[in-house]
């Protein structure tokens, strides 16, 4: 479980000559192998663009991206990518689609896994893809991705159109696969609560830049939710976001040293951490380095904070 699954250095992407700006700008990040990484951010933050770069479907305007120690093109056989719109051939049946997966992935196709993912959803193998619902197509797309036995699994909003049972089943299958084979999973989602518990790594993008990145436990530990009188002074801590209600102020801070008496402190949940950063786009970025040596322990963590 050592090594790097995904690494970007000053990655930037501009589409066409659009003056609107950069879809991704100056993104430097590293996701160690074996992690399950949640990719979050508001619409238009650059999540899909980043995943498409990792899959080798887009070329950077500037900077570079490497996956599994090589270029995305060279790693294609070891990557599985499920795009947001789950592209499949509508005229094929489920069985034909699975056969396609087998023929296109000679030597490393796991028919048992792919078949199980399809069967758990009670799909008729003779049904044409075009006759399936959105959620059923998602299931087939995930069956193809898992059947490929990838080392890196890139999923763009994979759970969006699944019913609760299918979500739970597929997330379980995904994570069990990761546990057994050390598969790295990078998964974008807007449902932050869904990532809580499933992910051990977080990447929060905003306006094409990295806002938060690192092992989830450490990111949570680097922040504190404080509640106190609005007259209180939060210096010298970094205040990510603060809201005042009457005489009370609630703030998410990155403590520098002990928090003064008179403040009630709590560790934030993933949802609170993400929401506070989404509400406060001007908050400084924070990247916690992860040497990938162990399952998210605090050793070797380096703090690197930069005003954006």
């Amino acid at each position: 479980m050592t090594g790097t699954a995904l690494e970007a250095a000053a990655l930037g992407k501009k589409f066409g000559r659009r003056k609107a700006g950069w879809a991704l700008h100056d993104c430097t990040l590293r996701i160690p192998a074996g992690r399950v990484c949640g990719l979050v951010g508001p619409n238009g933050a650059g999540k899909s663009t980043l995943l498409a770069h990792a899959a080798g479907l887009l070329a950077p305007t500037e900077g570079s991206i490497r996956v599994l120690g090589t270029t995305p093109a060279a790693a294609r056989e070891r990557i599985a990518y499920v795009a947001q719109d789950k592209p499949l051939y509508p005229q094929l049946t489920v069985a034909e689609t699975l056969r396609l997966g087998r023929e296109l992935n000679p030597g490393h196709w796991d028919a048992a896994v792919a078949g199980r993912v399809v069967d758990e959803g009670g799909l008729d193998r003779d049904a044409k893809i075009r006759s399936l619902s959105g959620g059923q197509r998602t299931r087939v797309a995930l069956a193809l991705a898992l059947g490929k036995r990838p080392e890196l699994l890139l999923l763009d909003e994979p759970m969006a159109d699944l019913d609760p049972l299918a979500r739970h089943q597929l997330m379980g299958t995904l994570l069990a696969d990761s546990a057994e084979h050390g598969t790295t999973v990078v998964m974008s989602s807007h449902v932050v609560a869904e990532l809580e518990g499933s992910c051990d790594h977080l990447l929060l993008l905003g306006e094409g830049r990295v806002r938060l990145a690192g092992p989830l436990d450490e990111l949570l530990a680097a922040h504190t939710l404080v509640t106190g009188p609005s007259s209180g002074d939060l210096a010298p801590h970094t205040v990510v976001e603060s809201r005042t209600t009457g005489r009370q102020v609630t703030a998410l801070i990155r403590p520098r040293g002990p928090v003064g008496a008179g403040w009630q402190t709590d560790e934030p949940t993933l949802e609170e951490l993400v929401l506070a950063h989404l509400r406060a786009p001007q908050a400084p970025a924070l990247t916690l380095m992860d040497d990938g040596a162990d399952g998210g322990e605090t050793d070797g963590a380096e703090v690197q904070e930069a005003a954006v």
């Binding site: 379980g172 069990a176 518990g197 399952g295 998210g296």
Partner: protein, 128 residues
């Protein structure tokens, strides 16, 4: 074998929920020395939580000497936790005390709060 129930909204860290539920199963005799805990893969598949979380919980249980990992075989229970069977004298005393609390007009929540505060007082500083 135990089955873990993960409550994502409880505010209790997920790995700790696994630790606590394993200890509960040990106390109730649902797990006995020699029993095998579910593999990380099995837990992950059933609960959709991160595999590292399960491993962290098992490491914690191992650190406390309750289980041991046997290479290639799985994680096994080493010892049980001081159990208090339903017919123990302690149970009878607590039951009698609860009766008196009710007679004194205490509601269920009052009893629970009182019990917890005494518990807190006596076990302060001990591991959860």
């Amino acid at each position: 074998m135990v089955e873990y129930r993960i409550d994502r909204r409880s505010g209790v860290a997920t790995y700790l929920q696994i630790v606590q539920q394993t200890k509960q199963a040990l106390r109730l005799g649902l797990l006995e020395p020699g029993d095998k805990l579910p593999t990380a893969r099995e837990v992950v598949e059933a609960t959709a939580i991160n595999p590292n979380t399960v491993l962290k919980a098992y490491r914690e249980l191992e650190r406390e000497g309750l289980v041991e990992a046997r290479r290639g075989l799985g994680t096994f229970v080493r010892k049980s936790l001081g159990s208090t069977p339903a017919d123990s004298p302690l149970h009878a005393e607590l039951s009698a005390w609860t009766d008196r609390a009710r007679e004194a007009g205490l509601e269920r929540d009052d009893v629970a709060a009182l019990f917890n505060s005494v518990l807190e007082e006596h076990f302060k500083g001990d591991e959860a």
